[in-house]
């Protein structure tokens, strides 16, 4: 064996004392040399690094990642370079795989998968990146940000099948994101036609939640990218994702068609196409696409495919489409398949829960779901949560009792019990349960929020005021929560309050509360909050409130909300949902009235079915009136009588 070390880890750090140990531990035993370049830490990073045996170098930060990376590589003596950031670690068990890769004589570099532990933007994670390559002079980084070794320089790259876990500190992440976006913008000015820069710039904007802004750079990237570039499939996916989430369905479809032409095995694009059709209510096309997904194989890992596209996600989407088509039984089957293909995919259970509650013919909610689930505490908690969401509080309480007997007492169960009691209007009992969770417990702030609600519901304003005081002083509750509760309390108290915009999360709290109030027949109280929500809230929240109003028979208020909604599509959606809610309760007259809101040109499936069934009855009635006319001769009378008989028979 030669003396040359095999593998050098190269890392750039700045103030990473907390995360550095985890990161370095994950390469223990495979990296023969640790090169760490510090760009100006003010904490104990250097000490920590040295404790782990790293060679630490200092380098002034000059807004250029490539410069620092290349600097680190210059220092490395190993045959291979492993690139890792301080907030990343090699997935447990994958380190061994790296050893094997180093002995492959053909490959010059390897792509690793990076799984980000942040955000819910599944379409941009996991990504694949070159993290392991031979230590050769030609292999140097380019670009000041999203530095990379150009494809044309480093050929013979293989999939290393190694995963890196990325677990950034939230605040750092946002800081970094801003920095990176700024640097990218500068860099793009310098090389305006580099597709890679536009691509990563688009992704960064996506990750920052700026969907609409991400479209232009992603489009530019796609225009300049060639099919040979590794990132092109993922680029398609990101662009489509942005377009769909900014409701540019037609544009999205156009891109998808091109993408499928270029990469026919990219299942995610087929899935996206299904989603586009679903949104455009072209259900048959949507079904075709989702069924196609089920028949396809998952896309190659280098395309960065989503998980479950060819299995449970496709089933789940099929369920949604069939639900929209009023094919309740088929929808339920699909949800079951979705769940059974991915036991952690609770969304399928929740959707099935709603479906089952609305259509009792399909079976008892709890029985059906228990039949799907395996036994266990987590599963029971999910079931209880679903029952609470569907407002089957008595049943939920029953399962709380049962679970307690089997698995023993725990805070989640206490919490659930409190909610059930509260919603069943056992206010004092609920308070007793909440009080059992002590001040020291991590749930305590959440309990505070429940308690104030409980007092609000019970008109105990003084007690509510005391709790509000405590909420104000809480260290852990986020500021939007505090502001929201403050506002709600003030609105109830009737004191003059400005309608402040408390942000989406705050408004969601208010929306839920309004639903609860209507459920508890406290519509008057709900109306204190309604104008506020109508000012800032989301259409989907209005729909839920409208449905609850319909459930309680308050069609007038539901109509008031309808009149406040802007946009034909959203009005239509609202109307259909309210109508179908009334139909579920078999309140045909009310449903018919709802259908006339804003004209009857578009009825929707549910509305049309109602309309159609009513027509049958009305036609029969109409003909019966006609038959009473004295000027009718016998022949026609007999014909009409037969027709009436026919129609009545069909009903």
């Amino acid at each position: 064996m030669s003396n040359q070390p095999m593998l050098s880890l190269c890392m750039i750090v700045k103030n990473e004392e907390k995360s550095l140990p985890i990161s370095l531990k994950s390469v223990e035993g495979i990296a023969d040399e640790l090169i760490i370049v510090d760009t100006g830490s003010t904490d104990k990073t250097e000490e920590v690094a040295k404790e782990h045996g790293a060679n630490v170098y200092k380098k002034k930060w000059r807004n250029d990642f490539s410069e620092v990376r290349n600097f680190a590589i210059e220092k490395a003596k190993g045959k291979w370079i492993l690139i890792l950031d301080a907030d990343e670690s090699i997935l447990e068990g994958d380190a061994e795989k790296i050893k094997g890769l180093l002995h492959n004589p053909i490959n010059e570099g390897y792509l690793f998968y990076i799984h980000s532990r942040y955000g819910n933007l599944s379409s941009s994670a996991p990504t694949q990146a070159l993290r392991l390559f031979r230590n050769r002079k030609e292999y140097r980084y380019k670009n000041r940000v999203f530095e990379r070794i150009p494809d044309e320089k480093l050929t013979h790259v293989a999939d290393g099948l190694v995963s890196i876990i990325h677990h950034p500190n939230q605040e750092r992440r946002i800081q970094m994101q801003r920095l990176k976006i700024r640097m990218l913008e500068e860099e793009i000015v310098q090389s305006p036609s580099d597709p890679y820069l536009h691509y990563v710039y688009g992704i960064e904007l996506l990750n920052a939640g700026q969907m609409a802004e991400s479209i232009a750079p992603l489009r530019t990237a796609l225009k300049n990218a060639s099919l040979m570039q590794v990132f092109t499939p993922h680029l398609y996916k990101c662009l489509v994702w942005s377009l769909i989430h900014t409701r540019k369905i037609e544009d999205a479809l156009e891109v998808i068609i091109q993408g499928i032409k270029d990469f026919p095995q990219f299942t995610d694009l087929v899935f996206f196409r299904g989603q586009c059709h679903q949104q455009a209510r072209k259900y048959s096309e949507a079904i075709k696409d989702f069924e196609l997904c089920l028949k396809m194989k998952p896309a190659p890992m280098s395309f960065v495919p989503d998980e479950g596209i060819t299995t449970y996600k496709a089933y789940f989407s099929l369920g949604q489409v069939h639900e929209a088509l009023q094919n309740h039984e088929i929808a339920l089957e699909q949800y079951e398949k979705a769940y059974k293909n991915a036991r952690y995919f609770d969304e399928a259970l929740y959707s099935a829960g709603t479906l089952l509650k609305d259509h009792p013919k399909l079976g008892e909610l709890d029985q059906v779901l228990l039949g799907w689930m395996e036994e266990g505490l987590d599963q029971m908690m999910t079931l209880i949560d679903i029952l609470c969401l569907q407002r089957q509080y008595e049943k939920a309480l029953f399962y709380v009792d049962q679970t307690e007997t089997i698995h023993g007492q725990n805070e989640d169960l206490l919490f659930a019990r409190g909610i059930c009691l509260m919603m069943l209007e056992y206010s004092a009992e609920a308070e007793q349960v909440y009080e059992r969770i002590t001040r020291e417990h991590p749930y305590y702030p959440q309990v505070l929020l429940r308690r104030i609600q409980n007092y609000w519901f019970a008109d105990q304003w003084k007690e509510a005021g005391v709790i509000l005081e405590e909420i104000r002083g809480s260290q852990t509750l986020p500021s939007y929560t505090k502001l929201t509760y403050e506002t709600i309390h003030a609105l109830f108290a009737g004191s003059y309050t400005e309608f402040v915009d408390v942000g989406n999360k705050g408004l969601e709290i208010a929306a839920k509360l309004i639903e609860h109030l209507i459920y508890l027949n406290q519509t008057q109280k709900a109306k204190f909050l309604l104008p506020w929500l109508l000012l800032y809230g989301q259409p989907e929240q209005w729909v839920r409130i409208g449905e609850m109003l319909a459930e309680k028979g308050d069609i007038q208020t539901a109509e008031d909300i309808f009149n406040r909604i802007k946009g034909q599509d959203q009005k239509q959606h609202y109307k259909e949902r309210i109508c179908s809610r009334l139909l579920l309760k078999d309140e045909r007259q009310a449903a018919k009235h709802v259908l006339t809101w804003g004209g009857t040109d578009e009825l929707g499936i549910c509305g049309f079915l109602l309309w159609n069934r009513m027509y049958s009855n009305e036609l029969s009635g109409f003909l019966k009136t006609g038959m009473r006319s004295k000027r009718l001769d016998a022949e026609f009378k007999a014909k009409l009588a037969r027709l009436v008989e026919l129609i009545d028979h069909e009903n």
């Binding site: 088929i330 036609l619 001769d633 022949e635 026919l646």
Partner: protein, 533 residues
């Protein structure tokens, strides 16, 4: 003077009824030689009192026809095919008064329908009524001819409609095979016989085998000698084949030859115009179309030529319109299309082209052009109504109103409202339909046709009580209710169908649709049963 109708038949149940119906009162006997029908042909013929002779088919039309004529007792023979009908049969007998001793036959106008919409028509003449003399017998195994070259025949205006060339009819494989068999046998006997070649060409043309057809036509041209009635048609048919195939250079020389021989036969110019158009020679194409229009004004002799209708009018105007459009001469194109419409006022395609050429121009200008160029003064209101309904189909509501506004004669106003109402009903704009039907009611022109429509519109609009009133006050409430029910059922069924097309996977919709179909079917069955009782 007695007339015997002579016919030969084989599986003609589809047409024979209407054929015999058109002549039964004007001939003295009906003689049918049936060559082996397996359908209802003979049964139908018997109900018309025909004398039916069964004769085994011997691959010879003349033989079969002559067999029938030999048994005819009338002094005159009228011969028709089962797929023909005679218009104005009552003029048949008076015709005979024109005949003197020398007269041996009468020429009839034959109108051949070439497409199911009956838009494409070819006209020709043929001797169909002739004196029953021994020497007046058919010859030629297929496309049998009568030996009338030197006899005196009289020209008449009587029209025979021939449906046998309709695409839905000519594809009768059996017959085609039979014809082909006979012709191929004959051509073997006499390869230079131009008439047989010509007929073979016809058969192949009908089968869509244009190359083979061309081949036979060319041979016919080659061997043709002397005067005859079908040579001009040979050129016409050749042009048809050539235009179906990618026309070659040869086409122009053949057409030139044809045109030299028949310089006043418009169909040949038209064919050449199409060819020039297809290769982008606009000026030459336009010249040919103009020539057709010119010949139309001079009226080519229909005695001489089988003329395809429209060639001297709307077809050439349309061609000119296309060419002007291609050349960017919008103004000229507009006028050409407008004149085309004048000759063929139901041509939706041309009307929409004309509309497209007025894109961005005020609708008044468009209507003015139509009135000026496409409406004959003496029929102005008729045309206005007609254009209005076409424009409605094209979603040109504004133009519809403008067009109807100009109606002068008050006797048309009722029809205008009815039309508007029906159009709106068709478009499912029931409130508008109600509005117009109601005006009809106010003008006291509510008819049995309009009241169920008004009632159905009211009903679909949710005004059930009013619908009841309209029907119970109408002339015939029972019929009104039944018709309105039919309309409503149709409407409901259609609506369900529409939704189902949008959401074909929706199970409850499928069930609803099936329900309406069952009701509708039962309802129709019942109506039919009652009708037959």
């Amino acid at each position: 003077m007695k007339i015997s109708l002579c016919m030969i038949t084989r599986n003609e149940e589809r047409f024979i009824g209407s054929c015999l119906e058109s002549v039964k009162n004007y001939v003295d006997e009906i003689i049918i030689v049936d060559t082996g029908s397996s359908d209802q042909t003979c049964h139908i013929a018997l109900t018309y009192g025909a004398k039916i002779y069964h004769q085994e088919w011997q691959d010879d039309f003349s033989k079969a026809r002559n067999f029938g004529i030999d048994r005819a007792k009338g002094e005159w023979i009228l011969y028709l095919d089962a797929d023909e009908t005679l218009e104005h049969g009552e003029l048949l007998k008076p015709l005979l008064n024109q005949a003197n001793q020398e007269t041996d036959g009468f020429l009839f106008q034959i109108v051949n329908y070439l497409d199911n919409a009956k838009l494409t028509v070819e006209k020709g003449v043929n001797v169909r009524l002739f004196r029953n003399r021994k020497e007046n017998r058919f010859f030629g195994a297929i496309h049998e001819q009568l030996p009338f070259h030197d006899k005196e025949v009289i020209w008449t205006d009587l029209v025979i409609h021939h449906y046998g060339y309709l695409p839905s009819v000519t594809l009768d494989r059996e017959k085609s095979k039979r014809n082909m068999r006979i012709l191929l046998r004959e051509v073997e006997n006499d390869p230079k016989h131009p008439f047989v070649r010509y007929n073979l060409g016809m058969e192949y043309l009908r089968l869509g085998q244009y190359e083979k057809a061309t081949d036979h036509y060319l041979r016919a041209v080659e061997h043709l000698t002397g005067e005859n009635g079908y040579e001009h048609r040979l050129y016409k048919m050749l042009s048809k084949c050539f235009l179906q195939l990618e026309p070659k250079e040869e086409f122009l020389s053949i057409m030139a030859k044809g045109i030299r021989k028949f310089p006043d036969y418009p169909d040949l110019y038209y064919a050449r115009g199409l060819y020039f158009e297809s290769i982008g020679k606009w000026t030459q194409s336009a010249a040919d179309y103009l020539k057709c229009l010119h010949l139309g004004r001079e009226e080519a002799d229909p005695n001489m030529y089988v003329l395809e209708n429209g060639i001297t009018s709307y077809k050439s105007y349309e061609g000119l319109g296309r060419i002007f459009e291609r050349m960017g001469k919008t103004k000229e194109a507009r006028i050409a299309y407008a004149r085309c419409l004048k000759a063929m006022p139901s041509n939706l395609k041309v009307l929409s082209k004309l509309l497209a050429l007025h894109d961005g121009v005020s609708k008044t200008t468009f209507i003015d052009l139509l009135v000026q160029e496409a409406i004959p003064k003496e029929k102005e209101d008729d045309y206005r109504l007609n254009y209005a309904s076409l424009l409605f189909d094209l979603d040109q509501d504004e133009s519809v109103v403008l067009m109807l506004k100009g109606i002068n004669d008050c006797k048309y106003i009722g029809r205008a409202y009815l039309l508007l109402g029906m159009c709106f009903y068709k478009k499912k704009r029931f409130d508008q339909a109600i509005h117009h039907f109601s005006k009809l009611a106010k003008a006291n022109e509510m008819t049995n046709q309009a009241s169920p429509l008004l009632a159905a519109s009211l009903w679909m609009n949710g005004q059930h009580k009013k619908a009841n009133q309209v029907l119970s006050r109408s002339n015939s409430p029972g019929e009104g209710y039944c018709n309105a029910s039919g309309l409503i059922l149709e409407e409901l069924s259609e609506r369900t169908q529409e939704y189902l097309q949008k959401f074909p996977h929706c199970v409850p919709l499928i069930k609803e649709h099936e329900k309406w179909q069952r009701v509708q079917k039962e309802w129709n069955n019942q109506n039919q049963q009652l009708a037959s009782v």
